[in-house]
């Protein structure tokens, strides 16, 4: 009997479950506070969780929720990929070459300090109310951040390994894949992590200001109608989706590429 219990416990891994429950606790508390708040507040300003859930279901049923989520997600994906790719190229070039660094550094500082809203409005005015302007504005907001991070990474590249690659006459491709990229991985991962959250927040603003679909657009409509239920019904599933991408795609990817590191304290 006692043996059975021990087995059951070892499969169950109480440590992990406890950690999971601890992380869940604040969310449950938040739901409770929300429920209580919705009872106390005047009608309309804070709908109950169930009311929001019912709108989510209706919107999902009609397909509008998925369509808007998909459109926004596509914008996030394209802007994220472009900002990462261009920012990486620029950052590596600036880290390697002093002239390029001196030429681009002031522009980066300007971009880093320019409010996202200014970039977005100017992009819509100059390029037009179209998809290119929307994506371009998001990319311009994220790009300097990626470039600065990757510039740091490039400056920190190990000179000893660089010399090794030179003496052994590695081809450019081999050097990039086996020597340079693995050293940039922590910097790429940092840029990606901060990048995704920044990009999706800016995409919503871009949609609110100048697109006719997507989660940001729906939130804009909800705002005009003062419809908090609808606002939350679009915002919450989208936040959930972004958290899921972060947890189930980005984090496992990061673990996968840094698996060679011996675990700390082991």
């Amino acid at each position: 009997m006692s043996k059975l219990t021990i087995k059951a416990v070892s499969v169950w891994r109480p440590g992990k479950t406890k950690a999971f429950l601890l992380r869940l606790l604040p969310l449950i508390l938040l739901l409770l506070v929300w429920q209580v708040g919705s009872r106390v507040s005047s009608t309309g300003t804070l709908p109950s969780p169930l009311a929001v859930l019912s709108v989510i279901t209706t919107e999902a049923w009609s397909g509008a929720l998925f369509l808007n989520l998909a459109v926004t997600l596509a914008r996030v994906a394209v802007a994220f990929a472009l900002a990462m790719a261009l920012g990486t190229v620029l950052g590596v070039a600036m880290g390697r070459n002093k002239t390029i660094d001196r030429l681009c550094d002031p522009l980066l500082i300007v971009l880093l300090n320019l409010p996202a809203l200014v970039v977005i409005v100017l992009a819509y005015i100059w390029v037009g109310l179209n998809e290119a302007a929307a994506i371009g504005a998001v990319v311009l907001n994220k790009l300097p951040n990626t470039a600065v991070t990757l510039r740091e990474g490039t400056r920190a590249l190990d000179k000893n390994l660089d010399e090794m690659a030179r003496v052994f006459d590695l081809t450019f491709g081999k050097k990039l894949r086996h020597v340079v990229l693995p050293q940039l991985v922590p910097y790429l991962a940092a840029a990606m992590r901060s990048g995704l959250s920044l990009v999706w927040k800016i995409v919503l603003i871009v949609e609110l200001l100048g697109r006719s679909n997507g989660v940001g657009f729906e939130i804009g409509i909800a705002f005009q109608l003062f419809d908090v239920t609808r606002l939350l019904a679009y915002a919450l599933p989208f936040v959930g989706l972004m958290l899921a991408i972060e947890t189930f795609i980005l984090q496992p990817f990061e673990r996968h590429i840094s698996r060679w590191r011996p675990p700390h304290g082991a």
């Binding site: 390994l161 003496v167 693995p182």
Partner: protein, 236 residues
Amino acid sequence: MELDVSIARKALRTASGQTRSILHDVDFSLRRGEVCALLGPSGCGKTTLLRIVSGLDADFEGRLVLPREHKIGMVFQEPRLLPWRSVAQNLRLVGTSSDNDLAEIVAALRLSRHLDHFPGELSLGLARRVAIARAFAVKPDLLLLDEPFVSLDAALAARLREELLALVLKRKATTLIVTHDVEEAIAIADRILVLSAAPGRLIADRTIEAPRGALTEARIAKLKDAILSDIANASS
């Protein structure tokens, strides 16, 4: 591979902006297959000389003549392995060797059990072996070794030296090995170039005539005395 080195002067710029001469009038040539030790006190420019020969440092007055087509295998003082690649991947990355060839090198350096390990899991001695294996994996015409036995304990160093020597002789690579240890130089080389303290000048060029392994204790002691007196004469 034949090699012609003729360095009139090599200077380093110090932090205060002044230049300091570290090599002066160093001229020598190596014949194909020669195993040459570069002996000298710490800081005399041995490593700098090796870097010049490897092509990593082209900022010197003089000239360096190498055959047009040549492969260099180099062992740095630190192993300089890629920590994110396994031992096997580290060897294959640089290597043009066939699998059989690589297996032979790995066996000669007793690394077979460690092929799947990452460099971070290896002791310094093992990491050195991997670095040596990597240098052989490129089928080098010219093998450059920078203090490959330093900071290993005496028994380990002696064993590694024998394994290395066996590989060098079997593969007939022209070899330049930097060391500050006279006995080590005598044990491994068939020619010893002695550098003075900085700025390094060539103060002796001794060829060891007797075939390897045939050196008697007395002969080794005599050689050692001769080299030590070379050094003493140069500094007086």
